[in-house]
């Protein structure tokens, strides 16, 4: 836990400074999770604010402070899911779709100003994004939480409110769909090569 239970209880009682403290403690981690879930850097803060907005208005429904973190993850997952459903991700990213940051990065890369490591990371991110965008939003989120965020099955059980065995089945199927989609896409050698080089 990044904050004391007492602060959560105070926030539940409507204490604005306590809520501020919670946001300050969790915002970086939450934004990181969102960034990896939605892969659109320009919208990460917007979705993050939506998460904390929902948190503010639903804190009174939290039964105990002990389940705060799964609760926050659940809100994060729901907000990311809503976002992904609204903005169906396109496989090919055009220049007009890129954020300002990405355009700067792309320009810099073209000019050879970004080093090899940054280029490789970008390739890996793009490869995994492409792989995950070939499956449903639900699969993408579940796999990201488990495999990228590193959440345990116990933690996922609390977030999804389903039994561990059911989660295992869902994870297995999601992995199979990712592997199938990636296989069908022809295993883009550049991206995979970059990933392997990084590994």
């Amino acid at each position: 836990m990044l904050v004391d239970f007492e602060i959560i209880k105070r926030a539940q009682a409507g204490d604005a400074p306590a809520f501020n403290e919670i946001v300050l403690a969790y915002r970086k981690r939450t934004l990181g999770t969102i960034a990896r879930l939605i892969s659109r850097p320009e919208d990460v803060e917007d979705v993050g604010q939506e998460v904390f907005l929902r948190l503010y208005f639903s804190l009174d429904q939290l039964r105990t402070a002990e389940v705060f973190e799964p609760w926050l993850y659940r809100l994060t997952v729901n907000a990311a899911y809503d976002y992904l459903r609204k903005h169906r991700r396109r496989m090919e990213s055009r220049m007009s779709d890129l954020s300002e940051q990405q355009v700067v990065l792309a320009d810099a890369m073209a000019g050879g100003r970004v080093d090899h490591e940054v280029r490789q990371r970008k390739q890996i991110a793009e490869a995994v994004d492409a792989m995950l965008s070939a499956v449903s939003e639900a699969d993408r989120i579940l796999l990201t939480l488990k495999e990228v965020e590193g959440l345990s099955l116990k933690e996922l059980e609390k977030i999804y409110r389903v039994k561990e065995n059911a989660l295992k089945v869902r994870l297995f199927r999601a992995r199979q769909r990712v592997l199938k989609a990636f296989g069908e896409a022809g295993n883009e050698p550049s991206a995979k090569g970059a990933a392997k080089a990084e590994i």
């Binding site: 300050l24 990896r36 803060e45 993050g48 890996i124 990712v178 295993n187 590994i199």
Partner: protein
């Protein structure tokens, strides 16, 4: 490159996810994050407040209207209603009196 077997596939997928995690660190938070969040919270609170007021006003209006209609239906009015003075059979007979043929007269003509 083709994946040769299921074990390799899964191992490579795991490795790719790990690499992805390293390639996408937590982003920096902009200075505008907290002010914008509180602005959105205030905005939502205001809209919830106004919606609550509207909802209360509507409920009050609906209750007043219901009471008015109930009063209109249950308070006895003057003797203008046919049901108040006539039986059903009488009202039916009065309604159909002009439409039905005068059988005794018709029978007399035929004779």
């Amino acid at each position: 490159m083709k994946w040769t077997n299921r074990g390799n596939e899964n191992a490579e997928l795991d490795a790719m996810f790990r690499a992805y995690r390293d390639a996408c660190p937590d982003p920096d938070v902009s200075a505008n994050f907290m002010p914008e969040l509180w602005r959105r919270i205030d905005e939502r609170q205001r809209s919830v407040f106004f919606m609550g007021r509207w909802a209360r006003a509507l409920v009050t209006a609906a209750a007043v209207l219901s009471l008015g209609m109930a009063a209109y239906l249950y308070i006895p009015r003057g003797s203008t209603s046919v049901f108040a003075v006539e039986s059903y059979v009488e009202a039916l007979a009065a309604g159909h009196g002009q439409d039905s043929p005068n059988l005794p007269e018709q029978a007399a003509d035929e004779l």
